[in-house]
């Protein structure tokens, strides 16, 4: 039984068709990469899955439930979490505070005027666990806005993870990062996928990252699905090479 089924979604902005009749199926535990040139419609595609945008046509089914018209918060409650191409965190709060908010929401306390001592201890422990996993423990009490770009991206991923998602959407997790940072984030994502069996869909421009991580790759070009397959199939696909890989290699 598939976790996510995207059925023929399109998104039109005025006369521009940003996404054109794209379908995708994601099985539980898979790591899928979405690649494609700038402006191909990758982020728009994510925006429809996460509820940022409503598709012009088509359907999105998550865990056998039609979520096409649900607002973002409701999709989060069902298990879809995302990060953004341009980092979205709470820059004037500390790393600890940034993580505490989603941990509390995920534990069902968003409306609580009060926490028992017991619950508070559990929540703190979970926040620490997330900081350790993201390599952020030494920066726990720093303002996120003051951290290096890589650490801000890591914070954002851990915030999404704090929600205990069943599907994690990462929009260019390594964008703007140096080699070391890219390596660290890649290892983190790999660990989440391998050890926690987390289902992940990520958009990525860095082909080393894509080929290192992905079980399956889908290629978008000018809003349409150009190809889909294993990394080997995509690497061998001539249309893809012409449209995208060729350009990146040149």
């Amino acid at each position: 039984m598939s976790l996510l089924r995207v059925e023929n979604v399109s998104k039109q902005f005025g006369s521009l068709v940003a996404v054109n009749e794209v379908s995708m199926i994601v099985e539980p535990g898979e790591l899928c990469a979405v690649i494609g040139p700038n402006g191909a419609g990758k982020t728009t595609f994510f925006n429809m899955i996460s509820g940022f945008l409503r598709p012009t046509t088509g359907r999105i089914v998550f865990d056998e439930e039609d979520v096409t018209l649900l607002v973002p918060a409701r999709r989060v409650w069902r298990g879809i979490a995302r990060t953004f191409q341009i980092t979205e965190v709470f820059p004037e709060l500390t790393v600890r505070e940034n993580l505490r908010i989603p941990v509390e929401v995920a534990a069902g306390y968003r409306l609580s005027p009060w926490l028992s001592r017991d619950t508070d201890t559990k929540i703190r422990a979970r926040v620490s666990e997330l900081m350790d996993m993201g390599g952020l423990a030494s920066k726990a009490d720093r303002l996120v806005g003051e951290l290096a770009h890589g650490d801000q991206r890591a914070t954002e991923i851990m915030m999404a993870l704090a929600l205990k998602p069943r599907l994690l959407l990462l929009d260019e997790p390594t964008a703007g990062m140096g080699d070391q940072e890219t390596y660290d984030i890649t290892q983190l994502i790999r660990k989440l996928h391998r050890e926690q069996k987390l289902t992940i869909v990520l958009i990525e421009h860095d082909m080393r990252v894509v080929f290192h991580l992905a079980d399956r790759i889908m290629v978008l070009s000018e809003g349409a699905m150009l190809a889909e397959g294993t990394p080997q199939q995509i690497a061998a696909n001539e249309a893809v090479q012409a449209a995208y890989l060729g350009k990146a290699a040149a």
Partner: protein
Amino acid sequence: MGASELNKQAPNIFVWLLLLGMPFWLPAIGGYTELGTRAVVLGLAAMSLNFLLGYTGVLSFGHAAYFGLGAYGVGMTIRYLMPSTIVGILVGTLVGTLAAAIIGPLIIRLRGVYFAMVTIAFGQVFFFIAFRWNSVTGGDDGLSGWTRLPLDFGFASIDIQHNARAFYYFVLVVFALSVGAMAWLLRSPFGRTLIAIRENEQRARFLGIPVDQHIWISWVISCCFVSVAGALYALLNNFIDPRALYWSQSGDFVIMAVLGGMRSFWGPLIGAAIFVVLQDYLSSQTENWMSFVGLFFVLVVLFFPRGVLGVIRRKVTS
């Protein structure tokens, strides 16, 4: 309590000591008790506004409406329904809170200037009702013919009617309960979702916070406490007129909050105190006292965007 905890609590202890001692030190420096009471009442209004403005990041220009509903609520209860100060406050608060709860869903989808404008518009509706409905509200002349009454507990009674100090301490108790409740909420998981919305609404939404719903709750809480302040304001003056609901009164609350510093919990109280003192002093000197307050406000905003308390805090930490 460790040393760092004590350090954190120091400003709170300082403020409470000042407030507790006000009827004693204020006259010594040329003030009078009612002036202190006024500062505390308007301080509560500004702090309530700031629950929404400073901690949720939503600017309302219509809080005078709920302030006024609290005020008319207490006045009309005592005059028409039941001669009890406490019941009057409860009715006033209930009326203001209910009105806010009902109007809330109509406005919480709006943001920024649009939200501010619509809150003004709704506020003006209440202003015109109070202004026009002569037979009940006293119209332009205001609602008189009632006074606050002594608190009667059966076994004991406290004369807040004639004793200005007793009334001050009564106001301070209500203030403490209200402000305590707001501080409590801000330190709760719910309070943190509000700060999340203020910091980055989009991120908050995609962390599973239904932003509109949380803003609605914050709005209702904010308006609830501003109606408490309105009720106390009417009791202080033994009178209420439609100007308390006028949109410029909402503007005064915003000025107090920004003047004192809307990113600090006590800032709006300081702002209200400065406002009240300036008003008291300048209005006896000149008709145009408001232009001086305005000038002072502009200077603070230009040079100390984090408000008066923001400056003091920076001095202390650096």
